[in-house]
């Protein structure tokens, strides 16, 4: 199998990095992804990162931790993480497993994730438009 060849592409759109995980991640490829993503945040000074999990049907404690680590490290580099496309079954399982993902924003899909980035990360000064705060 392509154990080491598998790399998740990371795209840059304006100030936001977008990574869509389309295959089941085994542990080595998850670690590779984390390293690649953090390097890319550093290189591009991206202010936001969207990780799309639409195609992912299992998030166990290893992947959950990877996401939490990415969010924490991205935060240290001045970048915010938004998770998109989390399947309902995956979200429920994460909670039952006992994992919380503090510091990670979520949005229903990639489009909404981009909107969250625009409103809360790229131009947070326009927040008065949002009325009741967290929305």
């Amino acid at each position: 199998m392509n154990s080491s060849g598998l790399r998740i592409p990371i795209l840059k759109v304006e100030e936001v990095l977008i990574a869509s995980i389309q295959v089941a991640l085994h542990d080595a490829s998850a670690v590779q992804f984390k390293d690649d993503l953090l390097q890319k945040i550093h290189d591009t000074k991206a202010r936001g990162v969207i990780i799309d999990l639409t195609a992912i049907d299992v998030v166990d404690s290893f992947i959950g931790r990877m996401i939490a680590d990415i969010a924490a490290m991205a935060g240290l580099m001045g970048s915010r993480v938004v998770l998109t496309g989390l399947q309902p079954a995956v979200a429920i399982t994460l909670v039952e497993l006992g994992l919380e993902l503090p510091n990670v924003m979520t949005a229903l899909n990639l489009e909404k994730g981009l909107a969250v980035m625009k409103n809360q990360v790229i131009s947070p000064d326009e927040e008065e438009e949002q009325g009741d705060g967290t929305g």
């Binding site: 199998m1 290893f62 931790r65 429920i92 994992l99």
Partner: protein, 133 residues
């Protein structure tokens, strides 16, 4: 009843294979998508523990019946070092490998029945079941 199916665990790729086997079996037994995710996630945790702590082992998945109820049984076996303190290992956040320590307690919460047999130097067998509602 359908025959048991087993996945050998020797690498991190086998973790994905084992949880896919568990999910496919759960789906074919009529479990809904949320239960499929619970079962696949529990197997992912237990298979990773085999890989991390014992090096190798196996995950066997089969259909079970009890009275009118039908369900799935997963047996995770290894000949590794054993778990020294079961109670401690089932506490949220306890890890000897700087892991999250959520694998065993989380898998237990995700399944309906959960049993650990372990002996130092002999190995560990974890049997867990989930019943179709």
């Amino acid at each position: 009843m359908a025959q048991a199916k087993a996945a050998v665990i020797r690498s991190d790729l086998d973790i994905v294979i084992a949880r896919t086997l568990a999910r496919d079996t759960a789906r074919s037994l009529g479990f809904g998508p949320i239960d499929q995710a619970r079962i696949a996630t529990a197997v992912s945790e237990l298979a990773r523990n085999i890989f991390l702590y014992a090096g190798s082992g196996s995950v066997t998945v089969r259909e079970i019946e009890r009275g009118l109820r039908r369900g799935i049984e997963i047996v995770c076996e290894d000949q590794g070092p054993g778990i020294p303190d079961i109670e401690l290992s089932l506490q949220d956040g306890y890890s000897t490998s700087r892991g999250m320590g959520m694998g065993l307690p989380g898998a237990r919460r995700l399944m309906d029945e959960f049993d650990i047999q372990t002996q130092a130097g002999v190995g560990t067998t974890i049997t867990c079941r989930k019943w179709r509602s």
